[in-house]
């Protein structure tokens, strides 16, 4: 089957209605075939089933990241910022940078920071319980990662709201040049300046994650020019993602009181509850790859230099892979979801992300009997992320 025989759907994943509720669109795409074309984007094919998404993510030689992991093909258009040395890179460069980041963000590191991350979570949750009526985003999902992660990177306290603006911009830039990108790019210059200034060694506390990147440069593992760019990766990928991971988990638990009851009864399910939220309401909805060679997806022949949209959130609800995919069930073994990617580009900070999710949900599970929805939530639309703007909740203490 050649590319023109692939089913074509008149769907724009970036339409507001699809960003607000992507699931009907995902189902249409999955049921149309293992790979489809989308009319508004002729230079791209899309995969919505788990098997093909997983296969694409695991074949880095055919489906490269160096031409960008958004809709823009860097072989044809200038990237919106200097290319990331990890996200938008392929081996051998990627192998070197990945090794440095894997080491800094390893489970060994998690063991060292666990107590601090737990203590901050417990304190923040206690303050929320005192308030009872909270905004799950402004009072918990946002301030928690914004405190613990930049602290671990070694960033100063001031100006951290720039991290939110930068994350929003980076993840919007992976979609089309639409109104969402235009709006978040309004402050691109000042935010980028702040980010790059804070990636300099002088502005990073000694021996924290950021400084450890520079230590890798000192030892010759990477170059000194590469160091600030790798620190940038912490700042673009490490905050907005976990904020929404925690926000989406709170959303799931508030809307599924029977699941929250299980968590309250067994707080040791917290890690699984977070994992299942990553599957059920995937923070990173999409990533792209670019074909490096003529290739095949399922039985379709795809030419070289075509963008391939991997619909992660759709794969995570593919009935071919999951029993009752549309049920949020914290007792499910959600391992194998692609909410954190897969293969060599799988989220390098995932051990830290899981730690954050686990300790926040554990702190809640121990102290809160019920989480009630106390008002309508609002969404912050983004071309890549599934994000909440507000999440009014009432916490009933145990």
């Amino acid at each position: 089957m050649n590319i023109n025989s692939i089913p074509e759907l008149d769907i724009d994943p970036y339409l507001e209605e699809n960003l607000i509720d992507p699931y009907p669109m995902h189902e249409t795409i999955r049921e149309a075939g293992p790979v489809v074309r989308l009319k508004p984007y002729p230079d791209m094919v899309a995969c919505g089933r788990h098997a093909e998404v997983h296969a694409v993510l695991n074949d880095w030689e055919t489906f490269i990241s160096g031409a960008g992991v958004g809709l823009t093909n860097f072989n044809k258009e200038e990237p919106f910022r200097p290319k990331s040395l990890i996200l938008e890179a392929d081996p051998p460069l990627h192998t070197t940078t990945r090794a440095v980041l894997s080491r800094i963000l390893s489970p060994k590191t998690v063991a060292q920071i666990r107590d601090t991350f737990t203590l901050v979570a417990e304190r923040m949750v206690e303050r929320c319980i005192e308030k009872q009526e909270i905004d799950g985003i402004a009072d918990l999902a946002q301030p928690y990662p914004l405190k613990v992660f930049p602290d671990a990177v070694g960033l100063g306290e001031d100006g951290r709201e720039n991290l939110l603006l930068y994350g929003d911009m980076v993840f919007n830039s992976m979609g089309p040049r639409n109104a969402l990108l235009a709006k978040s790019a309004e402050r691109v210059q000042s935010v980028t300046n702040w980010i790059m200034t804070n990636c300099q060694r002088d502005n990073l506390k000694p021996n924290c994650f950021g400084d450890q990147i520079y230590q890798a440069a000192d030892s010759g593992e990477i170059s000194h020019d590469q160091a600030p760019m790798l620190v940038r990766s912490f700042l673009s990928a490490g905050v907005d993602t976990t904020i929404n991971g925690i926000g989406n988990a709170l959303f799931c638990l508030a809307h599924h009181p029977e699941q929250y009851a299980k968590l309250h009864a067994s707080p040791n399910l917290a890690r699984q509850a977070f994992e299942e939220a990553l599957r059920y309401e995937s923070t990173a909805q999409t990533f792209y790859r670019t074909t490096s060679t003529p290739c095949q997806i399922a039985d379709a022949k795809i030419p070289r230099d075509i963008k391939v949209l991997a619909l992660l959130a759709s794969a995570n609800r593919d009935p071919r892979k999951w029993d009752e995919p549309n049920a949020y069930n914290i007792e499910r073994r959600a391992t194998g979801h692609v909410g954190l990617g897969a293969g060599i580009h799988g989220c390098v900070g995932q051990a830290i992300a899981r730690l954050e999710g686990e300790v926040v949900l554990t702190a809640i599970a121990k102290k809160v009997k019920k989480i009630e929805v106390s008002g309508h939530h609002t969404r912050r639309l983004n071309n890549t992320l599934r994000a909440l703007e507000t999440l009014p909740l009432r916490l009933i203490p145990a």
Partner: protein, 106 residues
């Protein structure tokens, strides 16, 4: 298609068919082998698919990359000379029949 034998902590041996090119972790997960947790899904980021590779097969494996070596430093059960992450072992013709021991804890 090849075969991998997982020796479980309770003493049982489980034989699993593994398509060529697929990882031992993936095949173990599909077969529901509980001792292979594989939290990260195969990105060499979590050290929870740790196995001990039986001696005769060790030389047939490609050497671990830097990121796997980092993770092997983080295993819950002791790291031994034959410790590997099963997500990084892909089935080949010559690996068919490989024996791996699943540790007590991941």
């Amino acid at each position: 298609m090849g075969v991998a034998i997982f020796k479980l902590p309770d003493g049982k041996d489980v034989s699993v068919e593994v398509p060529n090119g697929e990882s031992l972790m993936q095949a173990a997960s599909n077969a529901g082998i509980g001792g292979i947790i594989a939290e990260c899904g195969g990105s060499a980021m979590c050290a929870t698919c740790h196995v001990y590779v039986d001696g005769q097969w060790l030389d047939s494996l490609s050497a671990p990359l830097a990121n796997e070596l980092e993770m092997l430093d983080c295993t819950l059960s002791p790291r031994l000379a034959n410790s590997r992450l099963s997500c990084q072992i892909r089935m080949t013709l010559e690996l068919s029949g490989i024996n791996v021991t699943v540790p007590d804890a991941q």
